[in-house]
Each structure stands twice: as structure tokens, then as C-alpha cells.
């Protein structure tokens, strides 16, 4: 029997947007989120400002959350996960349980949208010697976001504002030895955004970004990159760091300044690793449960050229970073497209059945 409901797995920006849109179309949506709170990574990892227009991440996510909650056609289950799935497009039977609790309820849905997102690369797997597990003063983008949100950006081992901060790009991305050969798309923008925020919050700090390439697509060039250099005097150096090691009470970072063509060793107080995106645990588990194909990197595979939301299974769609590195523009757009397709499928099936 055809169902009139779409299941959305994941309550981050992609899932919330898709849920709201389906509700706005007058159809039913059930949203299942593994964590206890909605809002995905931006909330769970205490993001400060979004790269887009420096909006407050918390405010932006709350808007999405409230819109989804406010819609009477949207039913939300937090602290829950999908444990089983069978059926086909138009008529899936899905079992949902409280996280870690075995089978809770069985639901019947017509379309499924996978919005299970990403996790950050664990620097312990990095090819270079970054010492994330040796030094507290080596942090990731997520650690930095937390401090920036609280307006307390300090050198973790000392608790005082740093004088010298640097970012190292491409950590866990673009690396054949690790196996993550792809580019994580957003880290150049995020690092530049954070560099600006640090210069705003700690005006005495000197901030460097060590990069291989600066990926500043579209308006990021003029909205983020140029102001970072021209207004905030963030120092961009082409040359990636290979080693971080303690010297005295500071960290030494070693790299090559490729523009000047010589090796460099400079002291830093805080080093921020621009860790890349990997498929989240949820993405990997849900892919197996739903039987959708994953690509070489275990993200959800999108096999159809001009349709960025299609998976290998008809009736199951994907939105956001579950399909690979995405920025928020991509994510919101995909959520809209996926919601459209999910709703359209249900509308078609109901016309046929009627």
C-alpha cells in the first residue's frame, strides 16, 4: 500500500530543511535523529559563525529547528535510529528504535531522504606529525569554533590569549596515503572565517594560514579571502606544515615557504588543524541498512550525473554531506531538491492508486 509519508534520517540542516519543505507542500514527514538534540554538527560542535555571511550558527540552526517543529505535518523522533528497512519506492517498511534499544516502532513510508551528514577527520590518522594527541595546544576547527562561540579563544595549556596562531589546511584530505584523496571543500572558507574571528576577538594575535591551494569559490573570494588579507592582515603562506613539536613553552611548526623557496620553522602558541570531512558513523550504518551504494570513500554514492540527490535505490534520496563534502549552500539546495523529489514520488503514487 503506497504511503503518504517521507522518512528523513538525520536532523541537521539538510534534514530539517527537507522536513519543513515537505510539510509546506502539505505532505507528512517523519524525522529521525540519533542525537538527543537537533541541529546536526553546527549545534553538536558548538559552531560560532557560519561561513555564510557570518550568521550565528546557533541562531540559524534554531530557525530551521523551529520551522520544522512548528509544522504540524512533521513528526520528530530524537535519540532514535533506523534499524531495519525493506520494500521499494512508494512502499518502504522501516523499523525505528530508541538509540541502542532494539526495535521500537514500525512505520510505512513512500520516500526516504538520507541526511546523516559527516564527521571530522581524526588527526591521529594523519600522515604528517601534527601531535594532536601529544599537545593540547594543537586543536581542530571544531575545538576552535567552541572557543570562538564563547568568545574565549585562548592557548589551551595556558588559558591566556595567544600571540601567534596558525591554521594548517587539508588535514585528512587530498592525501593518497590516508586514502581521502578528495578535497573537503569548506575548510579553506572556514579557516579564513575563523582567522577573521580570531583577529576580531584577539586583536593582538598574529594569524597565519598554511595552505596548498586556497579554495575560494564564487563570492568567498571577495567576501572572505580579500577582507581576511586586506582588512584583518591574516598571513597566507603557500606551504604545508609537516611537523609540530614542542620547543620550550611554545610549539614549533615546520614547513616550506614555497614562495620564498626555503624551509621554515616558526613558533606558534596555537595550531588549528583544518580537518576534512568523512562520512559519519550514521551515514555508513544507514547506507548498509537501506542497501544504498557507497562510493570509494564510503559516502553515499550519487550515480546520476545531473541529479545530485539520487542514490542507487529508487525512492531513496540524499541531501547534504552524507553524499560527500558539501558547504551549506549545497546542503540547503540539495535538501530542497530531495524534498521536491520525495514529495513528487508520493504525489505520483497516490494519483496512480486513487
Amino acid at each position: 500500500m503506497a504511503s503518504d509519508t517521507t522518512l528523513i534520517i538525520g536532523g541537521g540542516p539538510a534534514g530539517l530543511e527537507a522536513a519543513r519543505l515537505i510539510g509546506d507542500l502539505g505532505q507528512k514527514a517523519i524525522l529521525v535523529e540519533n542525537r538527543d538534540a537537533l541541529g546536526g554538527i553546527p549545534i553538536a560542535e558548538h559552531y560560532a559563525a557560519l561561513t555564510h555571511g557570518f550568521l550565528s550558527a546557533e541562531e540559524a540552526m534554531n530557525e530551521l529547528i523551529n520551522a520544522a517543529k512548528a509544522n504540524p505535518s512533521v513528526s520528530i523522533r530524537t535519540g532514535s535510529e533506523v534499524v531495519e528497512c525493506s520494500g521499494a519506492a512508494g512502499d518502504f517498511t522501516v523499523k525505528i528504535a530508541k538509540s541502542g534499544n532494539g526495535v521500537g516502532e514500525s512505520i510505512n513510508v513512500g520516500s526516504i531522504i538520507v541526511a546523516t551528514g559527516f564527521q571530522h577527520f581524526d588527526p591521529g590518522r594523519e600522515t604528517q606529525m601534527y601531535g594532536y594527541y601529544e599537545y593540547d595546544d594543537v586543536i581542530t576547527l571544531a575545538d576552535a569554533e567552541k572557543m570562538l562561540k564563547e568568545n574565549k579563544f585562548v592557548t589551551p595549556s595556558k588559558g591566556t590569549p595567544p600571540q601567534r596562531v596558525c591554521f594548517i589546511q587539508c588535514v585528512g584530505s587530498r592525501d593518497r596515503q590516508i586514502g581521502n584523496e578528495y578535497c573537503s571543500k569548506v575548510c579553506c572558507g572556514i579557516s579564513s572565517k575563523q582567522a577573521i574571528e580570531i583577529r576580531q576577538q584577539v586583536p593582538g594575535a598574529k594569524v597565519f594560514i598554511f595552505y596548498i591551494d586556497m579554495r575560494m569559490y564564487g563570492y568567498w573570494e571577495n567576501e572572505i579571502y580579500w577582507p581576511a588579507q586586506e582588512k584583518y592582515h591574516v598571513q597566507y603562506v603557500k606551504g604545508i606544515i609537516t611537523e609540530i613539536i614542542r620547543k620550550g613553552d611554545r610549539l614549533i611548526v615546520r614547513g616550506e615557504d614555497t614562495t620564498m623557496g626555503r624551509p621554515m620553522e616558526v613558533p606558534m602558541d596555537v595550531v588549528v588543524l583544518a580537518v576534512g570531512m568523512e562520512p559519519s558513523k550514521g551515514t555508513k550504518e544507514v547506507a548498509k541498512i537501506l542497501g544504498v551504494q557507497q562510493n570509494k570513500y564510503n559516502f553515499i554514492d550519487v550515480p546520476h550525473g545531473l541529479d545530485p540527490t539520487a542514490t542507487s535505490v529508487p525512492g531513496i534520496f540524499v541531501a547534504g554531506a552524507a553524499a560527500g563534502p558539501k558547504d551549506l549552500d549545497d546542503t540547503m539546495a540539495m535538501a530542497g531538491a530531495a524534498a521536491m523529489k520525495a514529495a513528487a514520488l508520493i504525489a505520483k503514487k497516490s494519483r496512480v492508486t486513487a
Partner: protein, 396 residues
């Protein structure tokens, strides 16, 4: 400024948990596949063996005994206390071993220095040595860090390049020797690491007041990086742990310094024909930094070239007023001293250049008495009473 001891036992609040799903494919699959196809024999690690952890979590088998010792040309040539200490440790732990004369140098020092060789020749030399070990039934254990790294590379090349493998096979046929690849390529420092608790159990000296700067050999861990010992308790599993763990087991203090990952500057050809590079690099990038930041009593390393470079370069450094003057030795000699080995009869420290006697005093070793004993041995040789000193002569 000294970097404190607990830098080794990571001071960070974070713990790294290695996930099995990210481990690279185990090359042993390919190794055994080739055996199955008749391309070579894989010599299995004999029991008893100890398992140690390598970089991505794979367990590596380290044989305890029945080892065929692939000696180092540099050690045997000019730091013979290094080789002697390795054999002495085996003897004291009652492990059976062979010290072969049917062994050539791996010839990699020459290869990296002069390139007067090629991939097939180098692999031929390596495989000939492995075949010689196999023929005795004992398992090869490698004394030199460069031999070890070179043979790991050779294994990769032979696994992946049929043309090189077949060329070498034809040469082995001419020599009437089998094609044998050991199940593991084992460095002696991995063996010492694996038996470090047994060594510590037989320790007679107190090393708790000895501060050590560890120098890890480039060719040990930078070639075929997955195949080197890492330990989650040492530097959070983020740096190779082989020697550091041994030093800690012997009760000494390991001190960090900011050029830990740097090469010693051996250079292969540089130490012989472009010496200004080697002696400048070794003194300025390693010894001076170690002295300024860690102020160690001794530098411990696990490769021939590293001991040579770091020890011999200090004379000219001192002549130029650089901050040098710390003795250098191998983990084998250090462990042997801990177990009460004679500093001259076993560790042969008289072949070393940088002053080591204050270190021996700190270890409560009466080096003057030891030197006198050694001089007595030499007298017997000079007089013709003995032609050679043997193991039996020096066993207490």
C-alpha cells in the same frame, strides 16, 4: 630548557583510539598469494615469538631465538661493540643464534651513496642473504637500520614488479639458491623492544639518574612507514616507539627535543666525500639542540650510520666551539651495560669518539678497573699467549 619526562607519556588530555576499519591492506596477503603461485617460499617466523604493534595497528611477529644475524658492515667495520652487544644480549638471555660467514653486506650504503647498482642487483643481494639464512633453518634478523629499510623496499618492489622478481629469480637459479622471502623483516631493535622486560628483569645497574635523548633512524621508520613499531603508551602512538620504550623499560628518563624527527645527516656519500654537510647537520641540528633542550647524559639510537654520524661529528664541532659533548651509543650497548656487560670487552666503547667515561661513572661503572682488565686481555694477545679473545674468555 629541559622538556619534562612526561612529554613521552603524552601530556595531552586526549587519547587516540585506532579504528580497525581504517587500517591499510595487510601486505601479507600478497606475500602468501605469491607463495601459493610458486613465485617464492615464505619463511615463517619460528616460535616462540612475541607480537608487537605497528603503525596502523597490525601485529608483527618478532622471533625470540633461532635467529640468523644479518650483520651491519658499518658496525662490524668501525663500531664492533654494537654487533658484539647484540650477540651478548642473545647469549645472556639463552637464545640460540647464528653469526654467519655466509653473509654479504646488504650493499645499500654504497647504493644510496653512489647509485653504482640497480634494483635487480640490490634485490639479488638481499635475496641471496635470505636464501642463505633459510638454508640454515634460522630466521634472519637485521642489524642495520638501512639494511632493514632497504629490504622492506625490496620486498615491495619484488611483490609488485614481476619483471624485477623474475630477473632476480633467474639470478638465484644460476646461484642454485631458492627464492625465499621472510614472513617478517625484523630489525634487531624490534627484538630488543620485544624482550625489553626480560632484559630489565636481569638488570643489575640503576639507570634512574640517566637522562636519554633518543634518535630514531630515518630508514627504520620512514621507508615503508606502516612496518615500524608504534605503541599507544609512547607519545600517544604518534611517533615510532621502538627505542623509547626500551629506554623506559631500563628505568632511564627519556627527554624530548625539537628536532626529534630530523635525520642525523649521515647522507651515505656525504659522510665520506661531502663531509661538511654531515658534520654541520649532525652537530647543529641534532647534538646542539639535544644539549640545549634536553641536556641528556647519553644519546641512544638504533642504526649504524646514526651512531657513527652523531658520535664522530662532535670532535670537529668541539673544535669550532659548538655546544657538543654527549656520548652516543646503540640501544644494544645501553641494554648490555644495564645487564652488567663489560664496557670494553663487550660494548667496546674505546672505538667511540665522544667522551663516555662520565656517563659510565654516573652508571656506577668502575671504568678504570674495566680498562685495566681489558689491558690484561690485550697483554695476552700481544705476548702470544692467546691469538684471539673469545666468548668463553669474557664470560664471568
Amino acid at each position: 630548557m629541559t622538556i619534562p619526562y612526561d612529554a613521552v607519556n603524552t601530556k595531552s588530555s586526549r587519547t587516540f583510539e585506532r579504528q580497525a576499519e581504517y587500517a591499510p591492506k595487510d601486505y601479507h596477503e600478497h606475500l602468501f598469494e605469491l607463495e601459493h603461485e610458486g613465485e617464492w617460499i615464505v619463511q615463517r617466523v619460528p616460535e616462540p615469538y612475541v607480537e608487537v604493534m605497528t603503525k596502523f595497528g597490525r601485529k608483527k611477529k618478532i622471533p625470540l631465538e633461532l635467529t640468523w644475524h644479518h650483520k651491519s658492515c658499518g658496525q662490524c667495520g668501525h663500531i664492533p661493540g654494537y654487533s658484539t652487544a647484540i650477540f651478548w644480549l642473545n647469549r645472556k638471555l639463552n637464545f640460540k643464534y647464528i653469526d654467519p660467514t655466509d653473509q654479504t653486506s646488504c650493499t645499500a650504503w654504497n647504493y644510496y651513496a653512489s647509485a653504482t647498482s640497480n634494483a635487480a642487483a640490490q634485490a639479488g643481494v638481499g635475496m641471496r642473504n635470505f636464501a642463505a639464512a633459510y638454508e640454515t633453518g634460522y630466521f634472519p634478523i637485521i642489524h642495520c637500520g638501512t639494511s632493514y629499510g632497504h629490504y622492506k623496499e625490496m620486498r615491495e618492489q619484488l611483490m609488485h614488479h614481476e619483471d624485477i622478481r623474475h630477473q632476480v629469480r633467474d639470478v638465484m637459479k644460476k646461484l642454485k639458491k631458492p627464492m625465499v622471502m621472510p614472513e617478517e623483516i625484523v630489525h634487531y631493535s624490534e627484538w630488543i623492544h620485544a624482550v625489553r622486560d626480560r632484559i630489565a628483569a636481569k638488570q643489575t645497574l640503576d639507570f634512574s639518574n640517566i637522562a636519554v635523548a633518543v634518535h630514531p633512524a630515518c630508514h627504520y621508520y620512514k621507508l615503508v612507514q606502516e612496518d615500524a613499531i608504534y605503541d599507544p603508551d609512547i607519545y600517544g602512538g604518534q611517533r615510532t616507539a621502538t627505542v623509547s620504550a626500551t629506554v623506559i623499560a631500563l628505568g632511564a628518563e627519556v627527554r624530548d627535543y625539537s628536532t626529534w624527527f630530523d635525520c642525523c645527516g649521515f647522507g651515505f656519500r656525504h659522510i665520506l666525500v661531502q663531509r661538511d654537510f654531515t658534520r654541520s647537520f649532525a652537530t647543529r641540528r641534532k647534538i646542539e639542540v639535544m644539549k640545549e633542550e634536553a641536556n641528556p647524559d647519553v644519546v641512544i639510537t638504533h642504526d649504524t650510520g646514526c651512531v657513527t654520524t652523531l658520535d664522530k661529528s662532535q670532535f670537529v664541532g668541539a673544535a669550532h666551539g659548538l655546544n657538543v659533548g654527549v656520548p652516543v651509543m646503540s640501544d644494544a650497548q645501553f641494554a648490555a651495560l644495564a645487564m652488567g656487560a663489560h664496557p670494553y670487552r663487550v660494548c667496546q666503547l674505546h672505538w667511540h669518539s665522544t667522551e663516555y667515561r662520565p656517563l659510565l661513572e654516573k652508571m656506577n661503572i668502575d671504568h678504570e678497573k674495566a680498562w685495566a682488565e681489558f689491558q690484561e686481555d690485550l697483554k695476552k694477545l700481544k705476548s702470544g699467549e692467546k691469538e684471539y679473545i673469545s666468548w668463553e674468555d669474557i664470560d664471568a
